[in-house]
Amino acid sequence: MRGQIPIIIVFISGVFMVIQFFIPHDAGVFFYEYGLDWIIVIGVFAMLLGIWSLFRVQLDKVVKKSPGWGYSVVALGGLFFMLIGGPLWGIEEGTPFMQVFWYIYTPIQATMFSLLAFYIASAAYRAFRARTVLATILLLTALVIMLRLIPLGPISGPNQKLATWILMVPSMAANRAILIGIGLGIVATCLKIVLGIERAYMGHD
C-alpha cells in the first residue's frame, strides 16, 4: 500500500494535467491554479529543508573541528546574518542586508566568474590546434564566432554574416537535433512516471 498510494497520486495528477491542458474548463482551471499554488508551498518547504541541511552539515564541521572548520563558521555567520538581517532591517536598497549583498557577495561572485577569462584563454591556447581536419574546422569556426565580437573594420560585415550563417544553419541544425532528442526523452520519461513504470522518485527501482 505504501508503494501504491504515491503511484496513484502521480497517475491522477499526471492525467489531470494532460486533460486540463487539452480541455480547458472552469473546474479544471480552478484545480490547476490550486495545484500551482500548492507546488510553490512545497518548494518553500524544500528550501527550509535545504537551510536545515546546510546548518547541520556546517555545525557538525565546527563541533568536530574538521579541517577547514573556520570556513563553516563564516558560512553559518553569513546564513544567520542574512536570515535575521532581512526581516530586521528590510531588503530594500541601502539596508545592511543589501550592503552585504553588494559589497561582499557580489564581488566574490564577480571575481570567481572573471577568473574564467584567464582559464579560457589558457585552455583555448592549448586546445585549439589544427591537428586533424575536424580540429581545423572547429578552430576556424571558433575564430569566426569569436571575431564577430571584435570590430575588424571592412571585414566586420562579411565576418558577421558568416558568423550568423554558422549560428543559423549548421549550429542550429545540431542544436535542434539535440533539443528534439531532449523533448522526446522528457515525454517518454514523463509517461513512464505517470504510468508507474519509472519509480526512481520513490527512492527505488
Binding site: F21, F118, A121, P151
Partner: protein, 274 residues
C-alpha cells in the same frame, strides 16, 4: 627547446599575465569601438519603441552577480527606454540572487526618471521554481505573487488594477544568465503564447538561435555585444559600449594566442619531418 616549441608550450602564467595586461590597458586608457547592430537586437528595440505610453512590458531579471557585467546593461537600457516613453513595467527576479540585481536597477533608474512603485512599475520579487512561477503568472500574477517585493498586496497597487496575467502585458523580455530562459520559452511562449524576447550571456547565445528562427522568440541580445548594440540603438547609457573595448582587447589576445600556438605546432612539426 627551440623558439617554436616554446611558442607552442608557453607556461600558463605568461598567458594569465598577458591576458591581465590586455584587460587592464583599456580600463586605464578607455577607447571606443564601433558597434555593428544585428537584426535580432534591433527587433527588440523596434518593438519596445512601438509601444504606447501606458502599455505594460514585463521585464524578467533572471541573473546573478557573476553575469552582471554582461547583462545588467541590457536590463538598464530597456528599463530606461521604457520609463522615458512612460511604458509601465512589471519586473520579476526568478534567479536566487536576482532580487538584489533588480532592486539596485529599479532604485537607480526609477529615481532618475522619478517613477513610483505601484504606479509606474510593479516589482514582484522572487519565488522559487521558474516553471511553476511562470505557469502561475500565466493564470494570474497573484498566484505566485499575492504581494509585491515590498509586501504591498498587488490589488492595492493602482497599476495592477485590472491586470491579471500575460494577456494584459504587451511583451515579456527575459534577461537571463540561467536556464530560466528555457522555461520562459517552454512555459511562457509554449503554453501562454506570450510575445517573448531574450537577453542572454555570450556563451548562451548560440543555444537560442533555433528559437529565434522558429519564431518562439522575436529578438535576441547576446552578451556584452548585444548590450552595447541595444545601448547604441536606444541611446540609453553607454556602459556596455565602454566595456566593449576591454572585451575586444581580451578577444584579440586570445585569438593571437591561438594563432601563435598553431604557428609553433606547424613549424616544430615541419622541423621534425626535416
Amino acid at each position: 627547446m627551440d623558439f617554436y616549441e616554446r611558442l607552442m608550450n608557453l607556461d600558463r602564467r605568461w598567458v594569465y599575465l598577458i591576458v591581465g595586461i590586455a584587460v587592464i590597458i583599456p580600463v586605464l586608457n578607455p577607447f571606443r569601438v564601433p558597434v555593428y547592430v544585428t537584426p535580432e537586437v534591433k527587433a527588440i528595440y523596434d518593438y519596445v519603441e512601438s509601444l504606447e505610453p501606458g502599455d505594460i512590458l514585463f521585464l524578467a531579471i533572471d541573473y546573478d552577480p557573476q553575469a552582471m557585467a554582461e547583462v545588467h546593461p541590457m536590463a538598464r537600457a530597456i528599463m530606461r527606454q521604457c520609463f522615458a516613453k512612460d511604458i509601465k513595467l512589471i519586473i520579476s527576479a526568478l534567479s536566487q540572487n536576482g532580487p538584489g540585481m533588480a532592486e539596485q536597477l529599479i532604485s537607480e533608474v526609477a529615481r532618475e526618471f522619478d517613477k513610483k512603485s505601484g504606479i509606474d512599475y510593479c516589482y514582484l520579487g522572487y519565488k522559487p521554481y521558474f516553471a511553476i512561477v511562470i505557469l502561475g503568472m500565466g493564470q494570474n500574477f497573484r498566484i505566485p505573487f499575492p504581494t509585491d517585493y515590498y509586501g504591498v498586496p498587488l490589488d492595492s497597487l493602482p497599476m495592477m488594477r485590472g491586470v491579471r496575467n500575460y494577456d494584459d502585458v504587451k511583451v515579456v523580455i527575459d534577461i537571463a544568465a540561467t536556464n530560466a530562459a528555457d522555461y520562459w520559452i517552454i512555459n511562457g511562449n509554449g503554453r501562454y503564447n506570450i510575445k517573448l524576447a531574450l537577453g542572454v550571456t555570450g556563451v548562451m547565445t548560440a543555444n537560442y538561435y533555433p528559437y529565434l528562427a522558429s519564431g518562439q522568440i522575436f529578438g535576441l541580445m547576446g552578451g556584452l555585444k548585444g548590450a552595447s548594440e541595444y545601448e547604441a540603438l536606444s541611446k540609453q547609457g553607454d556602459r556596455a559600449i565602454k566595456m566593449m573595448s576591454i572585451q575586444t582587447t581580451a578577444h584579440i589576445v586570445i585569438v593571437l594566442f591561438i594563432v601563435a600556438g598553431n604557428i609553433g605546432y606547424f613549424m616544430s612539426r615541419k622541423k621534425k619531418k626535416q
